[in-house]
Subunit: 445 residues, 2 copies
């Protein structure tokens, strides 16, 4: 099936193979480079589920999706798949987020060989206690490194304040304690459940004539992947049942702090977006509405931003972030600041005033156009396009249809998110320099 999005000059070829695997091709004619993405709809937010073949929910150890991603690169013969891809001249990578695990590579030649290898290593699970033990050491190092980064510490501090149970409060990688609980049997359970072909998608972005090194069409790609899949045996497809914890609309706690080895304090203010299962495309439109409000209030062109500079509440800049996963999410505003409490107070007051905020039509249209324009430009990245398309699909949105709808967003539509800006949904987190870093700073000055 071909879907056309003439407004964006994009076409999407989409076909579900007989084993359930979804194959998506996005043509970029004339490009030498191709991007190949193989994803499981399995992320860190899906930590409580009914394992395939069982009848009761299981709470998996935190971080297991990410752990599984690491383990799959180790092939049964001990070789590392990323090295084999590198030998083909392909630049590979993998990542796990809250909604998916993705394996990917980029390159100009050997795309079909790379695709075969990618399918092979992801679809050949091989978990041993020995490998798990080794991986536990590697991931523990990775987690410790994350924990030492002030940006991550600030983020998860804020998320811990915000959420009672929702998985966004946990690092995708889990905790030092949780990864120690992971066994090879656990990995097999997760793999069996979430790596069924019907839960997976291949997305290829590029020029089929370059990929096949001869004139080729989407049906050649379908045939190529279908033939490969016939060489594999898969169990029967089962529905995957995940339990996402429902969150209260209010934050767990409205403030917390910690100290770290930094020189300038860091502060973040967060707003929790109420839990809901949104209609088709509404998740993406919700994000856009919030981004317009933030841009109009904290953007570098605003009086507010100038005021924060004048009062020395911020030094070099301010970061704003809006995230919604289809059910819940957050707004985050953070900065490096010598006056963290004053920064928090200022931002919170400003956020609370947004429930009454009136934007004029011209400014609204300007910010809307700018945000949509930025988004469309970002789609020039093959990776952003492929991963974004899939993530919006998982969020019950279609990237292009939602973009089309977003053009019709009106000033009045903003009011639907303005009701979120209430005291009980606000929280803040501050990281202060600890004594040792303060004395270091003193000696530097």
């Amino acid at each position: 099936m071909i879907k056309e999005y003439p407004f964006f000059d994009e076409q999407i070829y989409q076909q579900q193979l007989t084993n359930g695997l979804q194959l998506i091709f996005i043509p970029k004619n004339g490009f030498k480079r191709s991007f190949v993405f193989f994803a499981s709809h399995y992320g860190a937010a899906m930590n409580r589920f009914i394992p395939k073949g069982e009848k009761a929910y299981w709470d998996a150890p935190l971080g297991i999706a990410h752990f599984l991603e690491h383990q799959l690169f180790t092939m049964p013969d001990g070789q590392d798949a990323s090295e084999l891809l590198a030998k083909l001249g392909l630049d590979s990578n993998a990542f796990t987020n809250y909604s998916l695990t993705g394996y990917l590579f980029n390159g100009s030649d050997n795309i079909l060989k790379g695709l075969t290898l990618l399918l092979d290593f992801v679809q050949t699970p091989h978990f041993t206690e020995k490998n798990v033990l080794k991986e536990q050491g590697i991931i523990a190092q990775e987690l410790k490194m994350f924990l030492d980064r002030p940006g991550d510490a600030l983020h998860y501090g804020l998320m811990q304040n915000m959420f009672f149970e929702y998985p966004l409060k946990h690092d995708v990688g889990g905790t030092l304690a949780s990864i120690k609980d992971i066994t090879a049997a656990h990995l097999r359970t997760c793999y069996r459940t979430f790596y069924q072909p019907a839960n997976m998608t291949i997305i290829i972005v590029g020029d089929l004539n370059n990929i096949f090194k001869q004139e080729a069409s989407f049906s050649d790609l379908v045939d190529f992947v279908s033939e490969h899949q016939k060489t594999k045996k898969f169990g029967k497809t089962t529905e995957i049942i995940v339990d996402y914890p429902q969150e209260p609309d209010f934050v767990r706690t409205n403030y917390d702090e910690k100290t770290m080895e930094i020189t300038v304090p860091r502060a973040a203010v967060g707003l929790k977006i109420p839990f809901a299962n949104l209609d088709f495309n509404q998740s993406m439109l919700l994000e856009l509405r919030l981004k317009i409000l933030l841009e109009a209030n904290f953007g570098t062109s605003t009086d507010v931003y100038q005021e924060m500079l004048d009062q020395a509440l911020i030094q070099s800049g301010i970061a704003t972030e809006v995230y919604h996963d289809g059910k819940t999410g957050y707004v985050k505003i953070s900065a490096n600041t010598e006056q963290p409490q004053a920064f928090v107070k200022f931002v919170q007051e400003r956020l609370l005033s947004l429930s009454q905020f009136q934007l004029d039509l011209l400014t609204f249209e300007r910010f809307k156009k700018a945000l949509i324009g930025n988004f469309i430009r970002a789609l020039n990245s093959f990776e952003f396009l492929a991963v974004g398309y899939l993530e919006y699909q998982y969020r019950n949105s279609n990237l292009f249809a939602a973009l089309q709808m977003s053009e019709d967003l009106t000033l009045e539509d903003l009011s639907s998110v303005q009701k979120y800006f209430t005291e009980d949904k606000l929280t803040s987190f501050i990281i202060f320099p600890n004594q040792s870093s303060l004395s270091k700073k003193a000696s530097l000055e």
Copy 2:
């Protein structure tokens, strides 16, 4: 792709064809009879949408999906498709509800010929102003007949009380006024948008060896339908964007009444289920929870039922209904009663008490088992199985997965629906006999 549901001894074969059409086959080995169902995910609830190729929402005249269903039977050469199916010995029918339009037939022979004819007439739109005019007369008659039926009048009276805008308040067929507005151009717009192959599903239930009159597998069926689809031309697939009006949690009005030519008054009490987009399978589980509560309170084996008989609040019986479409829905309790006001008062008080109602574990398990058992027995009907499977899919449920989950429902789970039983969600509607029917009754006695 094959999905197996060993607990229910069912298998589902599912394949999306290259033009987007979903093909589902449910094997019933050894059965001579087959059931064939061709559905568009287009029902009376989808009355506000962005027409294919356009950029703004359109409010279609009420009843247009049903009108379209009628019109498709008229083939370009003037023949009636149902007569052609009858000539093949096939028993055909069609219906429109809030979520789908379905065309179906049953039979033992000529199944493949019938399938070809079914695909042909549904996929050959032919709308003329002359045919539309003729149909307006036919449907007006149908609507008048519906309006005269006390059961329908009671139902839509209650729905009008309950909903502000949600389409459940309107008869699927529309109104006498709305169908007059329908034009051939409107029908083409709806057809173009909702009858895209990617929005349609073929479900066949039966024995492939009987259907093909030789040993055959699912891939033969896929090939058969694929070959047929190659003879047709379809436009590019586009996302369908429907706007479902959001409803307040409370009812529009808590009482209304009318008179009709009946001898015994009729009364209905309704409870509105709050608007929400539910998680996977939750819509079906919500219905089950409510059904258990109703069965435990108004079932024929209960003391309450006996009390209503003793007080002559009901005569011959009481009807309970639970409906949820994935977003909203209702509980309806109705009866023929000589004391309609007393019946309403009694039922409403009982419903309000349900917020505090405590069921004992044994009774809970008994009702749960009975309801699930009834449901599973109903699946013996090919039609119930096929239509049910699809409707649950549209409601973000999988029939078998939800049934499996429903076995694990606990007594504590009931509390999640008990909060619905509040005054502001209750409404009632009464139909009294009008003067002429009362005098008729008097003369009969």
